[in-house]
Symmetry: C2
């Protein structure tokens, strides 16, 4: 069956929220624009990917693995579309993310990722539901296309950025932004910000092939705890990214604190990777017009309190 | 000398940021729209008042008393306009607010309000600067007019609210919103949200005359630590407000936590008074279309951590 009543993506997602802070610009030494997806439905950019995918595939059931934000987004998208979904999540995911998936009506399947990979668990569930679409959280042309909508919004703005910096985990967000920038014809450099602890993408770029982490890296940026970038994303990123900045954990946390104190913005650690990248390589961005994409805001109060107190 | 190069108010202030949260709406049982001024220049709505005042008066020097946000806003406005200002602040003001006034180039004069009133200290400084304009932080027709710009934005929106709820301290914000709603011809009920600990405005409305607190009430909502509403504001509010909700301290804190967890919004305690009002009188707002104005986001990390941990 086809879905004829689907609304177009940009009628469903909220436009990204632009936040400017003269004090944070001054602190970072750049002309900073923050594009925050923390006020997107479900609190992260992931709705762009999830809605685009769920509205395009003909299946009524969707199974996916997600460290959390894609799960919330998929649950919400499926609710809008009247579809069924099960989300496989690591058992150490942020509690708020697990609760939210359930609140949006999604089924949650918790897996101990030290004992079994998320992919293995997804395959087990898929065997029980042969009529379901098994969706990657980050590696699908429909995901890239959905995320491109954010890049389109940034390219439609009157101002032109020297750099757009966005977090990288599986690479779906940056692949979407690169795609949109290319289509716009603008000469904006797209930079990926990756936790140093989970630097498989940076190593991939250096080695010219996809490099895999042996286990999911335990960075505080839980949205970037992926084993590798996806194949579809890699095809876009390998020559589409200007660079990848490897951000130490303490710079991620400093990014969260600076967004709190100087921009009044609540960010999850993954969302602060862009600001963390500027803190890590200040000489690269000094004096330039920089757009930092804050990818999401869903963080447990306890984790947030700990970061603010450090 | 007159200021001929002043930009119009609405070219200087940022439009208020609209945030919607299905989860917070569901939790509160209302159709909620958040109009947040946390991303306004200087982090609160006060720039609307400060810029309007500083750009309209002919004096080049301005002296004012402020628990903080008006001080930051006045310092920023004076910087834009090339004017000089001194801000008298209680010595227990949020540290971030004191630091920010100084960062924007304003002079800070700290006063122990248990020993001397802010007004007394302002008069002392004014005696040394007879050429200065002594500005109220909340009671001046130019303040009301500046704050009315926020009400205008809310009335220009396509949706029509049953209620607009905004914090009340000196009454400048609510007087501005009432003024704009009246001018728009819309039949929106404007509700003021006041800390129960600092309920002089509610008592004033009950008694039909301005009632004064004996000292500045030590509510956690530091933006509402005023001794009374202002005379100009009272003239608007006495028959312009639909009601005043007296919000207990614990509901203010709960409002901060709900904005954090369900709307990804960092609010200062005063900014959460609107949500606190809905929590305090749920039966009044149940099922209605409610706009909560979040007046500002400037809160010390330590205070915020404490609230999140409660």
């Amino acid at each position: 069956m086809t879905n004829t009543n689907n609304k177009p993506l940009r009628d469903v997602v909220r436009p990204t929220t632009i936040v400017e802070s003269g004090r944070l610009s001054a602190r970072l030494g750049v002309n900073l624009t923050i594009a925050t997806e923390t006020f997107q439905h479900t609190g992260s950019f992931k709705l762009r990917a999830a809605y685009n995918l769920a509205s395009q595939v003909p299946q009524r059931k969707i199974i996916t693995a997600s460290s959390g934000n894609f799960g919330q987004a998929m649950a919400y998208a499926c609710k809008l579309l009247g579809k069924w979904c099960t989300i496989v999540m690591p058992d150490n995911s942020a509690q708020v993310k697990v609760a939210a998936v359930r609140e949006y009506g999604g089924n949650v399947d918790l897996v101990n990722t030290l004992a079994k990979s998320r992919a293995q668990r997804v395959n087990e569930i898929a065997a029980d539901h042969p009529d379901a679409y098994v969706s990657s959280a980050y590696d699908d042309p429909l995901v890239i296309r959905g995320n491109a909508s954010l890049g389109e919004e940034l390219c439609e703005m009157a101002r032109t950025f020297d750099y757009i910096i966005a977090p990288i985990g599986g690479g779906g967000l940056t692949a979407g932004i690169v795609t949109a920038v290319r289509e716009s014809g603008k000469s904006v450099k797209v930079v990926a910000a990756e936790p140093l602890l989970a630097n498989d993408a940076a190593r991939s770029l250096r080695e010219g092939r996809i490099v895999y982490n042996e286990t999911e890296p335990q960075t505080i940026a839980d949205g970037a705890r992926t084993v590798s970038v996806g194949n579809h994303n890699w095809a876009v990123l390998r020559d589409g990214l200007f660079s990848i900045v490897e951000v130490p954990e303490e710079k991620i946390e400093e990014g969260v604190r600076l967004l709190f104190s100087l921009a009044n913005l609540k960010s999850e650690p993954t969302g602060a990777l862009g600001v963390g990248a500027v803190l890590t390589q200040p000489e690269v961005f000094q004096g330039r017009s920089v757009c930092c994409v804050v990818s999401g805001g869903n963080v447990d109060a306890e984790v947030y309190r700990e970061i603010l107190g450090n």
